[in-house]
Amino acid sequence: MNPLLEVSNLKKYFTLRSGVFRRVGTVKAVDGVNFSIYPQQSFGLAGETGCGKTTLAKCILRIMQPTSGKVRLEGKNIHLLKGQELKNARRNIQAIFQNPLMSLDPRMTASKLIAEPLKTHKVSPNEELYARIIDLMRTVGLDEEQAQKYPHELSGGQNQRVAIARALSLNPKLIVLDEPTSSLDVSVQAQILNLLTEIQRETGLGYLFISHDLSVLRYFSDVLSIMYLGGIVEIGPSNSVFKNPSHPYTQLLLSSIPEFTLTGESFEVKVPERVEILETPPENGCKFYPRCPVRMEKCKTNDPPLYQIDKEHHAACFLHDNKPVAFYSESNS
């Protein structure tokens, strides 16, 4: 099967300036990221604040031009598309953001908001427009009477449903979900996650699900990737990553999830209590070096490639240097 979305060696650097001209440094927000998303797949992306998750999403949505690297949607590099082809690509890739109140126009009613993409892309003739809107609203679990309401009259969960209806209106092949449930309560979060799963089952679209909440990702994603300071440090089938976390950062993240199981024995916090280390990561070495509990001398001067832990499970850590190097790491160097 051909991938829906292919991201290869994607880089996005920001130049820091002091005043107008003087460059003082570069921030490598996304630094050589590779992955593919297949139809009907939920691809999870986890990481802490500032690790480059959202920058990556923006490059994929062509809201931002990457410094280098390719983003291919069904084989076509979206950053090179123009005219009608670009318009088609935009239809095929939609986004849902964290805070629906900020991504929805406060002066448009729910029905207008849902109609907007349909009108822009001229997909429904005017006489069928309303029927299509109502149809979409039903799909996402909104009542017809909510069509004339403004975002401030709807709850957070209902607004997020409007955002989902908007994204679905153009029958996209991929939806980028940037923290779609982070601003919602647990009971509403469950409803939205169920809705997204159901839509995927019916339409076969792919999801790029960005979240910092690992328990949501474990439930939702087929493939999970862990990002740290601009790079993917571990990637693999979700089950495999949770069962056998192979990068020290993934292990740290997993041990920090505040959760419990009904059959669980322990309620204890396992994380060693430490204050953030202000050391900057080494220039050429592993970015995780300053925080790594098992760091070695070579980690300071060499950036580890992704090693193959299991068939499709890769981790970028020298602890696994007895294993073969994953192929896209080679093309990277």
């Binding site: 939920s42 802490e48 604040t49 709850s155 957070g156 969960g157 309560d185 647990v186 009971s187 509403v188 979060q189 469950a190 409803q191 996650l193 169920n194 799963t197 089952r201 910092h212 690992l214 328990s215 949501v216 474990r218 439930y219 939702f220 994603s221 087929d222 979700s238 740290l252 993240l253 041990s255 920090s256 999830i257 505040p258 959760e259 419990f260 199981t261 009904l262 309620f267 916090v269 994380v271 209590e273 430490r274 204050v275 953030e276």
Partner: protein, 328 residues
């Protein structure tokens, strides 16, 4: 007063609070009863708008202008805080009862160094002290800083979110409060930092014996840090008990629904069980039990009479006519 009651530090009794809004009178808290024991970490969980934060703010009588406490008492060592005047309250706030809020960058002043802010905090409650520097250094190292002197010279923007929250905690602890109210202290932080702050809260409690009221919407956070938990729904406390016991065997159907809705163990695509309906408007709340329109076990009495918080299992109280049975 019986002997079991004397172990309490703070008692919130029959607290009823309303907000006047354009749309009508909002019954934000209805007969809230909460007991915080000495040296315990009590979690207060609930969804947005359930009244968690307002409960905490009422303890210090810091409610917004359009709010009014209609009924109830907040007893600290048996004396009613709600009956105190502003001047007395100012002495209690920060000294006996301290608060840490969600966004640490909003509770620190951006234009002063941490040294200045800590000095002001200590000065306002204890006047001129000679060992100010030593005391600040000690407080900062208590919250986990390895180089407290450097932190004292920093401005808030030079510190990360987790570090700012540690500074806010150090300041809250500067007057050795008997109760620390932490309102969503980790919501703005990353998971790793969150786990560290929660571990720190436990350590503070162990070291100083300070009681902590931890408010959170995150059930995992409560499970990780709290000895006991109180669950709020639409302005009412629906269940209280030891954290592990409540989470293993929730007696209230709302608690049970919330726990089931967590994407924890459910296999992918299986569908998460949801609580039907949505949170009611507090302007015109449902009669009787406020949860009854959404409750799977509701009967006629639930819509008629408000259930009282009653013991269902040892140390576990529930406000429900038909509490869920024990599992296993």
């Amino acid at each position: 007063m019986t002997s079991s009651e004397t172990a309490q530090l703070l008692d919130v009794l029959h607290l009823k609070l309303i907000f006047r809004t354009v749309e009508g009178t909002l019954q934000a808290l209805d007969d809230v009863e909460l007991h915080i024991r000495r040296g315990e970490i009590l979690g207060l969980v609930g969804e947005t708008g359930s009244g968690k934060s307002v409960t905490a703010l009422s303890i210090l009588k810091m409610i917004p202008e359009n709010g009014r406490i209609v009924e109830g008492q907040v007893l600290l060592h048996g004396s009613d805080l709600l009956a105190e005047n502003e001047e007395e309250l100012r002495k209690i706030r920060g000294a006996k009862v301290a608060v840490v809020f969600q966004d640490p960058s909003a509770s620190l002043n951006p234009v002063f160094t941490i040294r200045t802010q800590m000095r002001d905090m200590i000065f306002s409650h204890q006047g001129e002290v000679t060992d100010l520097e030593d005391r600040s250094v000690r407080l900062l190292s208590e919250v986990g800083f390895q180089n407290p002197k450097r932190i004292l010279d920093s401005y808030p923007h030079e510190l990360s979110g987790g570090m700012q929250q540690r500074v806010a905690l150090a300041m809250a602890l500067s007057c050795s409060p008997e109760l620390l109210i932490a309102d969503e202290p980790t919501t703005a932080l990353d998971v790793v930092t969150q786990a560290q702050i929660l571990a720190l809260l436990k350590r503070i409690r162990d070291a100083t014996g300070t009681s902590i009221l931890l408010i959170s919407h995150n059930l995992g956070v409560v499970a990780m840090a709290c000895d006991r938990v109180a669950v709020m729904y639409a302005g009412c406390i629906v269940e209280v008990g030891p954290t592990e016991q409540v989470f293993r065997n929730p007696a209230h159907h709302y608690t049970r629904g919330l726990l089931n809705a967590l994407p924890r163990m459910a296999p992918k695509g299986s569908g998460l069980p949801v609580i039907t309906g949505s949170i009611p408007s507090l302007i015109n709340p449902p009669t009787g039990c406020r949860f009854h329109p959404r409750c799977p076990s509701a009967t006629e009495i639930c819509g008629r009479e408000r259930p009282k918080l009653e013991t269902s299992r040892p140390d576990q109280l529930v406000a429900c006519y038909h509490p869920a049975g024990e599992k296993q």
